[in-house]
């Protein structure tokens, strides 16, 4: 997976989390994952389609999810509150939306789909061209995991190759 696709997601997550949590954000770890995705707690998934296809999952352990949601909501939320899951979904929506905005301004065209709560224990396994990058972001409320699996759509790559060929010719 190309770093040019990932960096906007890191920047967006940094901006959205720093704004909502009013504290510093840092990258604790960054790993490639080819095994099936295993949910850590409250997870929200957003699909992306267009020149680039794939998905991004925001995942927080249950205690962190409550702390983060409470901070975003401006009030203490009980762990059972539906708003905790809603907040994680909106967090994913905002991170993807801001990243897509940046990528779109660089010339990629695609759209995002509404976030869905990821409820199964395992996600789909990454393949050679959709291996997932897992980024652990350290926040004052706990660790926030971002699992990103994106790839260029074949038609987009072919279009770019043809354009490069024309330029070379």
């Amino acid at each position: 997976m190309k770093m040019e696709l990932i960096q906007p997601f890191i920047n967006a997550a940094d901006a959205v989390l720093a704004d909502g949590l009013k504290g510093p954000i840092s990258i604790a770890s960054l790993t490639m994952e080819e095994e099936a995705y295993r949910r850590k707690g409250v997870a929200a998934l957003v699909w992306v389609t267009g020149d680039i296809e794939g998905r991004m999952v925001i995942d927080l352990d249950p205690e962190t999810a409550v702390r983060v949601a409470s901070q975003f909501a401006g009030e203490e939320l009980p762990s059972s509150d539906v708003l905790v899951k809603e907040t994680v979904c909106e967090l994913a929506n905002q991170v993807v939306g801001n990243a897509i905005t940046s990528l779109n301004d660089q010339g990629f065209h695609f759209r995002t789909h509404p976030p869905v709560l990821h409820t199964s224990e395992h996600g789909s396994k990454g393949s050679e061209d959709t291996e997932a990058l897992v980024i652990c972001l350290e926040t004052t409320s706990g660790d926030v995991y971002m699992n990103i699996a994106l790839r260029y759509k074949q038609a987009f790559l072919q279009g770019h190759s043809a354009a490069a060929g024309r330029q070379a010719g």
Partner: protein, 144 residues
């Protein structure tokens, strides 16, 4: 949350009435808190475009705060349908997807302004005053 000088309707001095459209309950709640801090009143809520059109007809709000990415009917289409029926409608798009094409599409189809998520209250406050123009009255510090 920070309190702002209340924005009221200049025609009758009543609070500005808002319709909030977003598929996220969290986002709706967050926006509702902001408009409360502006001295506004929540006229209605909707989680997608079709319901938003019905709610507009029912509540006739002064301002619609409309998300873009929603199930069933997306925000830009809903804004267009509302403005077609009610050219006076003031629709402000509120979305995390803020690339130029999206903003231009929204404005061409009737939206008055665009605010990117995460929404900063001070930004939304200024946009609301701008969109209302002479139809808004900003209370002074003494709460007049």
């Amino acid at each position: 949350m920070e309190q702002f000088a209340a924005v009221r309707r200049s025609k009758d001095g009543q609070p500005v009435r808002y319709l909030i459209v977003d598929d996220s309950v969290f986002a709706r709640k967050n926006l509702a808190r902001m408009i409360e801090s502006f001295g506004g009143q929540l006229a209605g809520e909707a989680g997608e475009g079709l319901t938003a059109i019905a709610e507009y007809e029912r509540t006739k709000p002064d301002i619609v705060l409309m998300d873009i990415t929603m199930p069933q009917m997306e925000g830009i289409e809903a804004a267009e349908k509302i403005v077609k029926q009610h050219p006076e409608a003031r629709v402000v798009m509120v979305s995390s997807v803020g690339y130029q094409e999206n903003i231009v599409a929204a404005l061409q189809r009737g939206a008055r302004h665009f605010v990117q998520k995460p929404v900063k209250p001070e930004v939304l406050y200024e946009v609301i005053k701008y969109v209302l123009g002479d139809d808004a009255l900003v209370a002074n510090a003494a709460g007049a």
